[in-house]
């Protein structure tokens, strides 16, 4: 985790080292001065607030799993659980734990069917082998073409979208909150991906719908006031209702992709 953001103006919140501080804050054991500084960050810095929301849920899970020390457990019960909202979250955590213990967790990659090439190769006559080889080569060709079509970054064309039907959405990296977008009929969505790292000339975006790749685009950075953004325009036909992720990478001088961040948005019905 290498995210950082401004905290109370002068210093940067380092989420690697400050996770412990946030945890102490949630348990009510942070001293007053640090607490005030952190709270100002919660109000002014989206990264600090997002991290707080994540840690809140993780603390609940740790409590339920018996992962807190005796002192932490007491603080959790007397301080953390002060509001009805957090008590409801604890109840949700208990139910989720119960659900999980009633389920058999599938093995990783269990949903990805593995082709049984060996079985086919050893099961038939030599003519079948030749037939299989032809089919295999054809399948590999189709796969390669599909892979190229999906993976190859396509330079975003100069804007040809109907501006009156263009919805502009600003997205912050790795935000825990998902922005909803309503796409007008025959319209497009322009995502303005905020970037802190402006050291690249060229960028590449990969659009996913619930983990399935949809398209890859080659992009360039633009300046929007004091902010640096990478704009990505997507036509409405590509976007059915659901959750989407954009993986943004910078392209180095040597042509290598360097992952920058993930962005999320939801297309409303």
């Amino acid at each position: 985790m290498n995210r950082s953001g401004p905290l109370s103006g002068d210093r940067q919140l380092n989420l690697d080292t400050d996770a412990e501080v946030l945890r102490s804050y949630l348990l009510g054991t942070l001293e007053a001065e640090s607490r005030a500084e952190l709270e100002e960050g919660i109000l002014c810095d989206p990264a600090a607030y997002d991290e707080l929301l994540l840690l809140e849920e993780e603390l609940i899970d740790q409590y339920l799993a018996g992962g807190l020390s005796e002192a932490e457990r007491q603080q959790f019960e007397t301080h953390f659980l002060v509001t009805a909202e957090r008590q409801n979250k604890l109840r949700f955590g208990q139910l989720l734990e119960r659900y999980m213990s009633s389920q058999k967790v599938p093995a990783l990659s269990a949903n990805v069917p593995v082709p049984q090439f060996n079985q086919t190769l050893t099961s038939g006559r030599s003519s079948s082998l030749l037939g299989f080889a032809v089919i295999a080569v054809a399948l590999m060709g189709i796969s390669l073409l599909t892979w190229v079509a999906v993976r190859r970054p396509v330079e975003q064309p100069a804007i040809q979208h109907d501006q009156s039907r263009l919805v502009v959405v600003q997205l912050a990296p790795s935000s825990v909150e998902t922005k909803g977008v309503t796409v007008p009929p025959r319209g497009s969505v322009k995502l303005e991906l905020a970037v802190a790292n402006a050291s690249f000339k060229n960028y590449k975006s990969e659009l996913f719908r619930e983990n399935k790749p949809l398209q890859t685009d080659a992009l360039r950075m633009e300046t929007n006031g004091a902010h640096q953004i990478v704009p990505l325009t997507i036509t409405g036909e590509t976007l059915s209702p659901g959750d989407y992720q954009v993986k943004l990478s910078g392209i180095s001088e040597s042509g290598q992709d360097e992952f920058i961040d993930n962005y999320s948005f939801r297309v409303n019905k």
Binding site: R3, E39, E40, C44, F92, L95, D243
Partner: protein, 184 residues
């Protein structure tokens, strides 16, 4: 603050205008500030965190005439200063109370569990898989399992953490609705 003061539509509109000239952006900023104020009051063990957040906002609204549109400071920090005052007054009139628990009715728990099952069924296959993998591992295997899952999905561990959190929030929203509807 004057006790006779009340929040009118006009006053609220003035707050939005103060937050941003674009009304839609202003409304979003208002929601963000309110959520964060609630978290701050919760962090200070105030059981009435929502009321105190609203009290803070009302006080800022009542000061808008004095602040004027030329106010150049950080609006977030201004809210923070007012929130501190509201908190001190709250502390003076009320000592911190330990959390009050009402034991849940067993029938209610069963209803909630059925809602959870139903809501998990409505998740997409990919999200259900992620949920099971992320929360299904136990004890010492959890860290390794999550690391492998991030690798499998081709995302950074923190991105996985955020994705799991979002699914969890979706599930909480779905359950809230399901419970309210009594399973529909």
């Amino acid at each position: 603050m004057n006790k006779d003061w009340f929040l009118s539509q006009e006053a609220f509109d003035a707050l939005l205008k103060w937050l941003d000239s674009d009304r839609e952006q202003a409304a979003m900023k208002y929601e963000e500030i309110r959520k964060r104020l609630i978290k701050i009051f919760t962090g200070r063990a105030c059981s009435e965190a929502e009321d105190l957040a609203d009290e803070t906002i009302n006080r800022v609204i009542s000061k808008l005439n004095e602040l004027g549109p030329e106010f150049e400071g950080d609006r977030g920090r201004y809210f923070f200063g007012v929130a501190n005052k509201v908190y001190l007054e709250f502390k003076r009139r009320k000592s911190p109370q330990p959390p009050q628990f009402t034991p849940p009715d067993p029938n209610q728990i069963e209803l909630e569990f059925r809602c959870m099952e139903r809501c998990i069924e409505t998740l997409s296959e990919g999200n259900r898989y992620l949920l099971l993998q992320y929360y299904g591992a136990e004890g010492s295997t959890k860290v390794e399992q999550r690391k492998r899952l991030a690798e499998e999905l081709g995302i950074a561990p923190n991105a996985l953490r955020i994705r799991a959190f979002r699914i969890r929030v979706c599930l909480q929203d779905c359950m809230e609705k399901c419970i309210k509807d009594g399973l529909g």
